[in-house]
Structures are given as structure tokens and as C-alpha cells.
Symmetry: D2
């Protein structure tokens, strides 16, 4: 591996744009030890792919991802495809000795996820999963506070990821098809919440106490055919979970919770302190230090934009000159590159083994929905 | 019954103060059709009772509630005692032909609640339960919006009642003793949430999908003996529930969720609109009208203090001259008195039959905790 | 003076109701050293006065305030009349040896205010002015923090009192007539801001740097005659002011600042700390302790409802069981009664001499508007 | 001019980074009609300049800005230097026929600003000033609402730009030296507020009613010499201003208003509606439509992130996937490029003539401070 690291990316939709930007921006802003070279982008639609590649600076394009993932000129494969198409390219790339960056959730099915974990364990390449929200400076600050013992014993985790784009007018897409997506709001949104909760609490989830899901919109317009097609995923899924250390967590994902648009929020209440984060105010962390006492205590509204005090901020702008969604991806690429040369990431990265633990929780919740009972995580492996 | 209505109240603690104030204030502020006469207050501690009666204007005191509830000079009995002592005086008063006002939850045990419901059904007197939060002007406004169809089909109910006073330093009291309280945060706080949710959604809860409870503090100092005694109630209890119309609700009660102090909050997301209320900002209602559209829509922060537009406000002060906790009790007494002379209350009152429905949900959640499975409400009657 | 203190109140409108309630509630809740006896209420409209007196428990009524203020059975005279009618009854009562409680501002005209200050200086009775907002627990907490040096040197004071009831549809009243009110938003709202600023900063205002006023609504409907009458007061008045210690303050009062309804807000930024208060969230104080540092610092949202920690709360309810507008008056009566028997008030009370200092600032601002220049306070005496 | 537009940029500090990023990002995200070619960057420190150029992709570097601004290969000159160095390069570039983009404020001195306005009027090239905040989607939405008449007649403008980085520990820099900066918080921060106010209200400011400034920190450490040097600019400057249509505005800029870090906020209250914006929550606009009425009205919290509804968002990410500070610059470059080929910008751009009007207000406020009187804008030309 030279000073550069050559990247092949699979996918050119929403995540393709977000990842391309991160690969472009990490150099000017984050002084990484390796510079990504945008070698090849793969996608199904060759016409739009050419335009996409020109726009973001990808040197080559291909409509055959299989060649890209084994290309000897490629060091790292970024899998930004729909959930059902995570396993095959990831495994192929690992077998070809590449490092693999994969979108979350690890996979659409539990079986796929297990296979990916096993492939990673057997491979020489490194693996990473795009749980980008760990790298909001506010979330990373919360993680540091928790690790420093500032929260004490955790009692409560309260996590909701609420969106409103899933109304009846929204047309059919792979995201509403269980075959392609695995699940709906659950895999898309609860995956983030479970990762954040596990990351911040620092303990495994050991039990799903109960779960339920809803599908209120039964069919959607297929833009291609002009006809309505049945949907087959959840619009919302809620569950409560127990952590190894005794904390209790509530989790809720929905695509029909207007006016919330991207309200990825999590709160921890502990014996010594509490933290609260909501992506819709992503530059802020709310922290309560119980030692402030009743007279002077309460939520502290912390603007996590101070270089040197809040993680990742030294790459960006002065105090309260806010960063946005895309910066979480750039911060992650920065940590991935540091990690690949043996440096410590600012906060821990998620690999396939770690993401598999999140997938076990997703799976346990699905079983709790189906079987209408509590499910121990030991039952899911 | 004359122009006056003669009241006997049982209890002189926190609720005794709140109720006394309401009986005093309803006359000057609410122009009620009946004027409460503070006839008798009953309590165990005769010494402090005399001081209490003088302070709030109770004409008589007794340490024997049994005489008070059958006193022919008394028209209405107000039961403001701990949960285990709701049933006996309520039933006795009903049998003596009195109207009964009882603190929430209806009872500490499901058996007591059932007996009270049955006694009420057989009695000539009217019954009322102090679910005071229905009478925050903001909550009553939300109820009106829901009844007018402004929310459309309800998808989500998200209800949490979070307090922080239950830490290890808090001494033992009846509230931590299962024999006396029935349950901990569950009966105390979830009772309010369930009543609010049923009230606002306007549909029965039909299923508990799952539930869990926690007791983190195992023993507390007994102020009388100076020794630690075991606690026997939940510090927190969470459950998810399904409503008859398809909505899903999450409920969480905790006494260990610092820095929340009295965060009785509920949010409904519907097809046409959403509402959000938090008692810690009790004069506000947040409302989203989906027809405002994406460009101009979002939570509207409504100060529910406009006489003529927001219920109950005409009794109080000008715009944004805020009211507080105690006013919800006075508003309720106002509606009770109106109801007793055949007028309509501003928003529906809760009687024993209605409160029993809330108690069924409390009970179903307890079973779901114990049996680690989903419980249909039909199983609990 | 006996254990009771006999009160005569002049006025039966908005302030008459607020004061009556305070006199009624101070006994049950605040354990005062003297109990107010509601001796006489005076008002112009005898018919409504009888009903008012019955409602709030005033023993006697009169339509001749002159007899009430000299009645030998009266100990304390409460002047709750419009601004132009503060001076005459206050001076008469002081000359008759009574204590006087007067509504704010001290007077409608500077000349009246000067005469009242002089009468108070020459009298045996005590004087008090109803600057009730000092007795929000949150404001009193801010005062304590400031006095303890937690803010350090003050740089900024930012005070706005914004309402929205003064639109063109609002009918004529004494509040829009310069002869009767003295000024509009200025005397009504800036009076509160100036008092709060002087109280919290603890330094005199020495200069008005500039000021301007607006009258956007030129005439209003006279409900009695059905015709429009010209208005003669400001709808809004803004000024900047310098404090003796170098702080700079901005002040803004408006009755046409929709959607603000009673947004009496003030913020102080100091070298060591900042505080922020808004009456529309009156139970909250926002405090920033600069020593929290950039990583963990920011506004702390303090719920000022903890008995023993936050002033006045021990009289009322548990944590976050909010109090409202009327409690600020009851808290004030509690301090007035304590002060009359030689006890210290919880936070300083405002007498006529102190209120005159606020009136000087009001006057200086009016001159700055008229003369379009900076005005030193020394010019106004 | 070809499909590309060749840019020379002067300056490599904070603004140099922000502008470079905007020139880089406009291509991939905004589909502009011209593509910026990063031709030359000029700076005083050749060593760091090379590294800077490599990082952001500038093809050439020079330590002599005079050659860069007349280079025949350059089409557009971007002046990102300190305030005292705006005039000379801008005028030289205009005389050489270039288009000029200049940082705000237009100049450090009123004389410089006048000269720049005159040079622009005489030149063939176009001019633009980096008032980037106009291009927050929330601000642009507010502008559209105002232009559509949704606010009605404007009564109030309330604008504060509060920062906290100017404490005594902050070392000396050109920003604290009047010779180099012209003024302190005033030119730096009030310049933005004045531009935003003029932009949103759509009327000229006609009078400064009063103004005052403060310098609390008298000297600062010179990092180069290790000695303290006197400061010569304001730490804070406040003024009130009248608009042609009768609205009144208050303006406040401070670098010593902890805990505010970049609180560039503005509120307009009008007869039909109000808007409120704070850069610390830059993706949000608060809007009150008076026609919502008292029952249902209040601030609407609008997340201005919906493509097709909120300006500029179509270039970026889905709903509530927030953008940050840097995007305002990219949005501005996008509009500049459109404007250069004759297309309409999304919202109006600011040229030298427009920025000179803002500079007149800055100058009038300085005179009001010095002369302690109201100043008509007509006096300043």
C-alpha cells in the first residue's frame, strides 16, 4: 500500500454521494495518513454512472461490480448498495484480500450477516461498517464522558429514530420490499439506534423484553409500472431491551412520525449524569452532571464545536460554525485511514464482528414481534 | 343538596394540600354552580390535623375517617389517602349515598379496583377520579383537536413520565412498599400516562406487547427506626401497547431519570396532525398540522393561555400569565361541581368505571412483566 | 398592630384580582407572621364591587377611596388603580400613617413619582411597590448567584418585554391615553425591565445612550361611544443604557410583537457567568458557569422548583410541580409581611425610593426620545 | 469566458479555507453553468501557501497579489484578506477587467468603501460581497415569505450577533487593531446583521436613534513579541435604527457574550407574521402566521431542509440531514456563477453598491457613538 489508497465504490445513489464526498473531503480537511484515490465506481445504470463519476472525480466506471471488487489496482472496496447486496460483494472483496467498508445494517438477513462476520474473521483485510453517527462530535463527546465514568451506572436508554417520509404518497422502492431490504424502519433506523446504544452504554444487550411492529401503508405506487404494489416491511418497530449491567432501553423506529424528519435521538440517564442527543440538532450535546446539584443543575446545552475539546472539530471550523450530516462520513473516513496505518481512531470503529452484534439485536427483536414474547439474546447466534 | 356542597376530605399530606386549595379557589375564580363547604378533614395525626384544618379553613377534624364518610352533613367524600386505603372509604361513602372523589390510581390492587368499580355501579352517588392532568388547558386543547379530527388516524403514542427523586438517599415511605402502594412508578406515574393516552386517543388499549420493570434501589433508610428496610416496588416500568384503531404506544415511568423532575409528557403522531405535551412546560401545546406542508410546517408552539380559545383560561389570567400545577385541581373541581348539577364538564371527567379501564392496563402490564410475554387486555377483567 | 393586618385595596380590575388572591393565599401557604384581613375594597362601580368583594372575601366595600385610606381600622393601603391615580391615594394614606403597597410603575408622571418619593421619606409608614417579578424563584435565584459573585463583572444586559395584544382591533382603554397612563409599553413594560435590571446587576444606570418610540396604531374604538378615539402613548419603546460598572444594557418594550404574549425576558452576560430568564417559562433559569469550560459548558436549564434550594418554593409544591403568575404576588405579600415585623425578606423589596430610581430611568429614556440624544441620569432628578 | 472560470484568491486563513471549499464543492453538488478553476492563490507566507495550495487544489501560488489580480489568465478575483486590504486589490482587479468577490464588510474604512463602490460603478466586471448568511436555506425562506407579503407591515427587527471568543486571554491579532480592521465586533458582526436586516425587511435604514460601544479588554498578548499591546477596537457595539417604512430595529454585536459562540440571530415581527432565525440552529426557521389565530398559532419550527420547498436544498441531502456553515459559501458561489451567465440567483446577491449601503449604516452608527446623538442616514454619504 502506497501513500494513496485506491478505492472502488459500489452504488451511486444517496450513499454513493455521501461516501464520494467523504473520500474527496478527507484530504483537504483531515490531513489523513493515506489519501483516497477514487479509482472505480460501479453501478447498474451506465449512463448516469458516467455523469456521476465525472461529478465526483471517479477515474473509472463499471457496471460489473464483480470485476471491481477483485481488481488488483483496488485496495479498499466500499459497499454502498441496498441491503440484499451487501453480502456477496463484501465476501468477494474480502476473499480477494481487500479492505471492506460496508453500509449499515450489516445485511438485510441474519443469515447474510452471519456469513459476512465469518468471512471477515477469516480474511486478511480489515472491515468497517458505516455507522456514521458515532462520529458526530456531540456523540463522540458523550462516549468520552461515559468512558470517563461521568454518567455512573446507567439506568435508562431512550432511543427513537423518527422520520415522516413514509406516507401513502411515497412510491414503491427497494426499501419497502422485504426481499431486498430485509426489514423497513427496523433495519434502516433501529440499526443506528442499537449501534449508538451499544457504543454509548458500553455493554451488551442481553434481552428483548417485548416488541411490536406496524405496517399502516399496505401498497404503494410503482413508478415504473404505474400500478400499486404491496409493501412487505414494517413502517415502525418498537422494542424494549435489557443491558448486561441492568439498564433498560426503549427503542422506536418509524417512518410515519410527522413532523419528525430525521430525529435520531438517544438519551442515557445514569446515577452520576445524563446525556441527550438528537441529530436534528446534531452539533449539540445535552449533558447533566448530577454533582451540579438541584440549585444549579439541569441539562447543560453544549455546543460541541470547540477544536481541541470536542472530537473531530479541529478539522473544520471555529466555534459554532456548524457542521452537517456529511461531515460524519468524512470524520469516519479519517478514522478508517488512521486505523489502516495502525493509528487509533478518535472513537472506536465498527467492524463486521461488532456490526453482527447489532444484527443479533435486530434479529431478536424480530423474533419477539413474531413470537409475542421476551427473547434472550443467547437464543440468537 | 343546597347551593353549597359539604365536603369531607381524608388525608392531609401532599394531595390533601392540593385538594384543599382547589376547594378554596374554585369559588373566587371559577363561578361554580355549587360552593364547596370545607366541612371535615380526617387524618391520623390529630395534632398536625388541627393546624392543617386552621390553615386551609376546614371546619371540623377527625382521626376516624369512618365517621366522616357516613356523616349525614357530608355530601361529597374526597379520598386523598395512600393507594391501599382507597377502597374501604370509597365503598363506605358510596354505600352511605355520598359522591366520591378518589385520588389516582383507582386502587393499589386490581382486586380493590374491581370492587370499587362494582360499588360505584351499584351506588346512587357519583364518582370521580383525580386524573388532574386532563385539565391542563394544553391537554384539553389537544383533546379538542383530536375530537375535531385534526390528527386523523393515530399512528404513534409516545408517553413518558420521568422523575428523579427516587435515588438511594430518598428514605423509605409507603410509596416504596408494595403492600401499601401496589406498585411504584407504575401505579403512580404510568397511571397518569395511560389515562392521558386513552383520553387523547379516544380508543381502548387492546394489547400489551411487552413490558419490563426495574428495581435498582433495594433498600432505603426508615426514618423512624434508623435502619434500612427493603423496598418492594418498581423504580421504573416500561411497556408497549396497541390501541384498538391500530396505533402503537410506548409507555415509560421512572423515578430515577435525572434531570427530569416531573416530565409527564405525551406525543401523538397522526396522519393529519401531531400533538406534544410536557408538564414541565405545562402552558404549552405543540401541534403540527400536516396541511401546513413541508415549506411552512413543523411544530407550532402554542401558548394555551388565551381566554375563550383555550379551555379553563377564562377563570384565570391574561395571555401568557402562566398558571401552574395547582390550577389543574381547581379546574377539575370546577368541572365536578358543574357535572353534579347536570352541566357538561369542559372535557370529560373520569369516573370509577373509566378509571377501572386504566387499572386493567396497569394490571396487564404487570402480568406482561411477570410472564415475559404479550398480554391481551381481554385476559384481564 | 395585632396578629392581623387590616388591608384596604383600591381597584378591582386585573390587579385587584391578583392582589386579592395573594392576600388570601399567603396564610395557608406561606405561614406569615401577620395575617392579612381583607377589610375594605374600594372601586368606582358599586354594583360589580359587591360581587367582587363577596367573591374574594372583602368584608367591606366603598366607592369613595378617600374614606378607605384614612379609615382608622386600616393598617395597610394597597393602591391597585391606574397610573394617574397612584399619587393621590398613596400620599393620603402615608399622611394617615398607613403602610402603602402601590402598583408599578410608581406613577404615570415623573412629577407624581417625585411627590410620592418625598411623601414616603416624610412618613412613618412603610412603602412597597409591586415589582412582583423579583419573586419568581428563578429571578430570585439569579439575584443570589449575582450577589455571590458567580457572574463576575457584568458586560451585557439584554432585556425585552414583548406582548402582542396591542393590535388595531384592541379597543380604547386608559392604557392608551397618555393623560391616564403616562406612557404606553414604556411605563407598563420597561418599568419591569428596568427594575429587574437594576435588581440583578446591582448597579445604577447612569446614562441613556439613545432611545426611540413608535406608535403604529393611531386610533382605537371606544367601546362606550362606538367611535374611534386617538391614542396618545407609545406602542413600543427601545433604549440602550449604561450601568455604573461599565455594563451596557438594551431595553425593548412592545405591545405589537406577535407571537410573544408576555415575554418578560432578561439576560446578563458576565465575565464568570451568565443568566437568562423568560417569564413565558417562568419556572426556569438558564445559567452558564464559565468555569464549566468549553467541553462541558453551556446554558444549564435549571428548574427552579426545589424547596430549600430555590427561594419561595418551600411554600408550594414538589419538584417541577410548577407555580404560575399569581404566586409571584403571594411570594411578595409574604415578604412584605415579614418585613413589617422586622424580618428580612428573601430578596430585597422595592420601596418608593427604589421605585423612584426606576422612574428616573423611564424619564431619562423619554427625554432621549424627544431630544434625539444621549441623556445622563444626572440630568433627571 | 469559457466553460471554466479561472479564479485567483487572495488570503489563506479562515476565509481562504471557506472559499476554497466552496469553489471545490460547487461543481459536484450544484451543477453550476461555469466550473471554477482554482488558478492561483496569493498569500504572504510562501511556505504555508504551498501546503495550502496542494491541500485545496490551487494550481499556482504567489506571494505578490499584485501580479495575481492582473494575470490575464484570471477571470475572477476573490479578496479574502483582512479589512484594510480590501480596497487596493479590489480596485486593481476591477481596473484589470476582472470580476471581484470581496469578503465582508466591504472595507475597514468608510473612505475605502466609497472608493470601492465608485470603482465598481466604473468597471466592466461584476462585483459580489460575501454576505454568506443570506444563503442559509432558512434565511432565504424567510426572504421569500417576506417578499410574498406573509409578514405584512414590519414593526420590529431584533438582531444580535453574539460571540464569546474575545476574552482577555485571546491574543492580539489584526482583528483588534483599528488600523487594520476598522472596527471590532461592529464591522465584523454588525455588518452581517445590517445586511440581513436590509435584505429581509426590504427597506432602507434611514436613521440611527442612538448607539454605544464598549471596550472591556484594553490590551492583549502579542504572540510574536510576548508583550501586551493595546487594543483599539470595540468589543461590543449596540444601536437602534429606524427603517423607511416605520419599523424599528435593535442591533447588537459582541465578542464577550458567553455562552453564545456564533449566535447570529434576527427576528422580524410584522402585522401578519413573524420570522426568527439563529445561526446556531441554522437549518431551522421559526415562523408565525398570525392567521393561525390564538388557539392554534405560535412559532412554527420549520426544518428548512426539504428539496423543492426550501432554497438550495436540492443540491444537498434528504430531509433533516443537516447542512452546515460551509454550505452557505457553496450556495453563494453557485448563485454567483449563475449570475455571471445571466441567470437569476435564487435570492439576490450583494454587490459593491449594495454593500456600500450597509457600510453607510455602520458609519452612521459610529458617528452616533462618537457624537452621542441620533444620526440621519442622509448625513452619511
Amino acid at each position: 500500500m502506497s501513500q494513496k489508497i485506491r478505492v472502488a465504490m459500489l452504488g451511486q445513489q444517496f450513499m454513493g454521494r455521501a461516501h464520494s464526498n467523504a473520500f474527496r473531503q478527507v484530504g483537504p480537511f483531515c490531513s489523513p495518513p493515506l489519501l483516497p484515490e477514487l479509482h472505480t465506481v460501479a453501478g447498474r445504470d451506465g449512463a448516469s454512472l458516467t455523469e456521476f463519476a465525472a461529478r465526483f472525480g471517479w477515474a473509472n466506471t463499471t457496471t460489473d461490480w464483480r470485476t471491481a471488487v477483485v481488481d488488483p489496482e483496488v485496495d479498499l472496496v466500499d459497499v454502498a448498495t441496498p441491503n440484499f447486496l451487501h453480502r456477496e460483494p463484501s465476501v468477494a472483496a474480502l476473499e480477494a484480500g481487500k479492505h471492506v467498508l460496508c453500509e449499515k445494517p450489516l445485511a438485510g438477513s441474519f443469515e447474510d450477516a452471519r456469513a459476512m462476520r465469518d468471512a471477515a474473521a477469516a480474511a486478511a483485510g480489515r472491515t468497517f461498517v458505516w455507522f456514521n453517527y458515532r462520529r458526530c462530535p456531540a456523540v463522540a463527546t458523550a462516549w468520552k464522558l461515559a468512558r470517563e465514568g461521568r454518567l455512573g451506572r446507567i439506568y435508562h436508554v431512550r432511543a427513537t429514530y423518527l422520520q415522516n417520509w413514509g406516507g401513502p404518497q411515497t412510491p414503491m422502492s427497494w426499501r419497502f420490499d422485504r426481499e431486498l431490504a430485509g426489514s423497513g424502519a427496523h433495519g434502516d433506523l433501529n440499526a443506528h439506534l442499537i449501534d449508538l446504544a451499544r457504543f454509548l452504554v458500553g455493554e451488551p444487550i442481553t434481552e428483548i423484553h417485548g416488541a411490536t411492529s406496524r405496517r399502516w401503508v399496505e401498497s404503494r405506487l410503482d413508478g415504473a409500472t404505474g400500478e400499486r404494489r404491496p409493501t412487505s416491511v414494517d413502517d415502525a418497530l418498537l422494542f424494549t431491551a435489557g443491558f448486561a449491567g441492568g439498564a433498560v432501553g426503549s427503542f422506536e423506529a418509524s417512518r410515519l412520525a410527522n413532523p419528525h424528519q430525521n430525529a435520531n435521538s438517544i438519551e442515557l440517564n445514569g446515577e452520576l449524569g445524563s446525556v441527550r442527543f438528537d441529530f436534528e440538532d446534531m452539533n449539540l450535546l445535552h449533558f447533566c452532571d448530577a454533582s451540579d446539584g438541584a440549585r444549579e443543575g439541569g441539562w447543560r446545552r453544549i455546543m460541541c464545536t470547540h477544536a481541541g475539546e470536542h472530537p473531530y472539530v479541529e478539522h473544520w471550523w471555529p466555534d459554532a460554525h456548524l457542521i452537517g450530516y456529511e461531515h460524519t462520513f468524512t470524520n469516519m473516513v479519517s478514522d478508517v485511514l488512521r486505523s489502516l496505518v495502525g493509528e487509533e481512531p478518535v472513537v472506536p470503529l465498527c467492524d463486521f464482528a461488532d456490526a453482527f452484534e447489532t444484527q443479533r439485536v435486530l434479529e431478536a427483536a424480530l423474533r419477539a414481534v413474531d413470537e409475542r414474547r421476551a427473547v434472550m439474546l443467547d437464543e440468537v447466534s
